[in-house]
């Protein structure tokens, strides 16, 4: 690789739109007191499922939905960045606030709205006295900074095994309500699994597809375009 040319002699490079969005999201959350944590893409079933209160026989654990590793029973490609929730709590004590950007995998047939690999950002805040009010405040501030000051958010009931209650977060962007994020209060079983005291601590978690944020933000018609290695995708 030749780095002898001075910067003036060469054209400025570009970053992939997913990187741009990740950078923007981490910047906003850092201002809100979050650190960034990372974790493995090839994960054991304990961290990807069991510790997150996903029962052994849960439909998500079918081979139709999850990529299992050949000849390595008990290992999968992570289906969400939530595995890092567990890994982080196993090695850190509360209070803390983290976000986790990363690549995740689902065994689905692909079309303009679905891809086998995509990017997520996960958030986890744990401490004493953390409530839904903090979750709402954090997400509202985040979406206003990301999408504009007049952005509104709305919570609807949802379900994920590792939270209770669970929410769908909808944002009003360019006068349209879109579902953009899953969230919830950390399920006490998750705290028990990492040796935290669920009587003392509460917390909230959220996760959103970064590809979806990119597509919404820039109006991109097909999620698969991001992974073609095609520079025409990097228009920003």
């Amino acid at each position: 690789m030749d780095t002898s040319q001075t910067k003036n002699e060469i054209q400025q490079g570009t970053l992939h739109p997913l990187t741009l969005v990740t950078e923007e999201i981490t910047r906003i959350f850092t201002q809100q007191g979050f650190s960034v944590a990372l974790g493995p893409e090839l994960e054991d079933e304990y961290h990807n499922f069991d510790a997150l209160n996903v029962p052994k026989d849960h439909p998500a654990r079918d081979m139709q939905d999850t990529f299992f590793i050949k000849d390595r029973p008990g290992y999968v490609l992570r289906t969400h960045t939530s595995n890092v929730q567990i890994r982080y709590m196993e090695t850190h004590s509360a209070p803390f606030a983290i976000i986790v950007p990363g690549k995740v995998f689902r065994n689905e047939s692909t079309d303009s709205g679905h891809e086998m690999q995509f990017h997520q950002v996960e958030g986890l805040v744990v401490g004493e006295g953390i409530t839904v009010e903090h979750m709402k405040g954090t997400l509202l501030t985040f979406f206003k900074k990301l999408l504009g000051e007049n952005t509104e958010i709305k919570l609807r009931p949802s379900f994920f095994p590792f939270v209770e209650p669970g929410f769908e977060v909808w944002v009003k962007f360019q006068n349209k309500w879109i579902e953009i994020c899953g969230a919830g209060m950390v399920h006490p079983n998750v705290f028990k699994n990492v040796g935290y005291d669920p009587k003392k601590l509460t917390g909230f978690a959220f996760g959103m597809g970064l590809d979806r944020v990119v597509n919404v933000k820039f109006n991109i018609p097909d999620v698969r375009l991001a992974y073609q290695g095609d520079l025409r995708f990097s228009q920003f």
């Binding site: 990187t19 690549k103 995998f105």
Partner: protein, 589 residues
């Protein structure tokens, strides 16, 4: 699940608000209403019941309870007489604990025929097919109570009924005349000759109720959810029954459904009840849950008070006591989703409405640094500053050291390096270099690669056709990248993505000598041509010699609608050549 507004109304004493208001209430406080459709004088909602409420809400009764609770309305009661306790005329034997409860009701002298129009319409409104009055009655109870019910023609049952695991290779022809091969993991309902039904999934053709049927055995069972799910998946038989059983139903609802189906059959097909069989070895235990206001506020925040908990208890008809600030509720048997105080917090929260919970900022803190992430981020920015463009490729590839067990056919390996993918990107982008306006392609990817024993983050670059790939840390060290500086984008870009054309590109170059100074004149001609044929161009070479300047431009022709032909482009390009020739100061090289 399709839910009828008129059907819901039959469960509610008061007049329901408009269908739009009902849909809005369900959507905001319970489940997503995916669509609302007017059919005749009814409205059909398509409701995405959440997985944790599939126990009790894949039914009109379940949704009616939600609507009544959320809107403060009264559920209608339909009292039905108990069933006679006499035995059946045939033997029933339960040989597997995967059958949690089995009720069989024998009826004699039923008259099979078409259903009355109200029943046909009710079923057809929610997308079910009317078959005959007996089958329709069983389906109505399924959609009303959420309890699957099946009817057998008693005359076609040989000997008695046994519920057991299937034998390997045992075969059944289903009601839809498909032949299915069973395995030892499937639970089946058999007579002394062979399978009558796949438990909880689908009935068989051998004991089908037809016009000639006089005596029937009605099955109201409860089967292990995991067994039903696995069987239904393996046999590719997803039915209204399997969908309910695989989400687990309370065995407590079976007896009410039995009374319901018998009363319905008697009213539309006549017949007498001969007897009932009900084996329920381990009855579901009554469950209670105790909690305090503080258990709810530690989740939802301090805006919630006891009045809201009281409201939930009264709206949802919870049997409860309160002593010294501690509530104790008896959990309704079908509410398998409720077991801890956090579940009550969810109930109270969605009843009150999450919009009514205020937003609060987290306490301000300075977060610890994130060296692992910052190293990646700093390297990406350093590469971009040095003229590299980032790409992302697929993790899945043809060959590697680690494979997924069930994955994309020809690409089930996890990449062991980034370079192979980057080579493909390089070739692709080199072909497009004209479109991109780049004379050299310098690209990079940072991503995870997988070897037999570990995963690692690598950096790969291509510069003038030379590839380099190193582990992230090695790369940072080699190029002395400063990862200690905080990283931030100066400005987050905005704009609207423009999809590129998928048709092939034709390029044409033109070089012009300019005598004199009318460079602007040439630019004007080039620009006008570029606008007219929507063909971007860029200047790729420029030099001066003997008082003249040579300008070489490259035009890129590509249509959004079709593949352009050489002849078409030739014709257009001739126009440009003519135009340039008109000016005496310009000479085409």
């Amino acid at each position: 699940m399709k839910v009828s507004y008129n059907w819901l109304q039959n469960h509610i004493e008061e007049k329901l608000p408009t269908p739009e208001q009902v849909a809005e209430t369900i959507h905001t406080h319970a489940f997503e209403v995916e669509s609302t459709e007017k059919i005749g004088n009814d409205t059909i909602f398509d409701i995405a019941v959440l997985p944790d409420r599939a126990h009790d809400c894949l039914s009109h009764v379940g949704i009616a309870k939600e609507v009544a609770g959320l809107l403060g309305l009264t559920l209608k009661k339909y009292p039905l007489p108990p069933l006679p306790e006499s035995p059946l005329s045939i033997k029933v034997e339960i040989q597997s604990d995967l059958c949690r409860r089995y009720i069989a009701v024998e009826m004699t002298g039923v008259k099979v025929g078409p259903s009355p129009s109200w029943l046909k319409e009710a079923l057809e409104g929610i997308g079910a097919r009317s078959i005959n009055n007996i089958v329709d009655a069983t389906n109505l109870v399924l959609f009303d109570d959420g309890q699957p019910v099946h009817a057998f023609d008693k005359a076609k049952i040989d000997g008695g009924i046994v519920v057991r695991m299937a034998h390997e290779g045992e075969q059944i022809v289903t009601l839809s005349k498909e032949e299915k091969k069973l395995s030892v993991e499937d639970l089946v309902i058999v007579d002394y000759l062979g399978p009558l039904a796949i438990a909880g999934v689908k009935g068989g053709a051998s004991a089908e109720v037809t016009e000639e049927t006089k005596d029937i055995i009605i099955e109201i069972g409860n089967f292990d959810p995991v067994t039903v799910r696995k069987t239904s998946k393996r046999l590719a038989l997803q039915t209204d029954a399997s969908k309910r059983f695989e989400n687990e139903l309370s065995p407590e609802i079976a007896y009410g459904a039995a009374k319901h189906v018998v009363a319905l059959i008697q009213s539309i097909a006549g017949g007498e009840v001969v007897g009932i069989f009900d084996e329920y070895k381990s009855p579901q235990k009554e469950r209670t849950l105790s909690f305090k206001l503080s258990d709810i506020t530690r989740v939802l925040g301090s805006s919630i008070n006891e009045a809201e908990i009281d409201l939930w208890i009264s709206r949802y008809k919870m049997v409860s006591t309160k002593k010294g600030g501690t509530y104790t509720i008896t959990i309704p048997p079908e509410r398998l989703d409720i077991s801890i105080p956090e579940d009550v917090a969810e109930e109270v929260g969605r009843l009150v409405g999450y919009d009514h919970i205020p937003s609060t900022e987290l306490p301000k803190t300075v977060p610890p640094r994130s060296p692992e992430y910052e190293a990646i981020s700093a390297t990406k920015l350093w590469l971009a500053e040095n003229g590299f463009r980032e790409v992302m490729n697929y993790t899945f590839t043809k060959k590697g050291e680690v494979y997924v067990a069930y994955g994309p056919k020809d690409k089930s390996a996890l990449r062991a390096n980034l370079s192979d993918g980057l080579k493909e990107s390089y070739e692709k982008n080199r072909l497009n270099s004209a479109l991109l306006g780049l004379d050299t392609i310098r690209i990079f990817e940072i991503g995870t690669v997988f070897s037999a024993d570990k995963e690692e983050i690598h950096v790969a670059t291509v510069d003038k056709g030379t590839f380099e790939e190193l582990p992230l840390a090695t790369f940072i060290e080699k190029y002395k990248i400063d990862v200690s500086q905080p990283i931030s984008l100066k400005e987050f870009p905005s704009g609207k993505f423009k999809m590129w054309s998928l048709y092939p590109v034709i390029t044409r170059d033109i070089s012009v000598w300019i005598t004199g100074t009318d460079r602007a004149g040439l630019s004007k001609i080039l620009d006008e041509f570029a606008t007219k044929y929507n063909t971007p161009y860029y200047i790729f070479d420029e030099f001066s010699k003997d008082g003249r300047t040579s300008i070489a431009s490259r035009f890129i022709f590509q249509s959004y609608e079709k593949t352009l032909t050489e002849a078409e482009v030739e014709k257009w390009f001739a126009e440009l050549v003519e135009k340039i020739k008109e000016n005496k100061d310009f000479e085409i090289r």
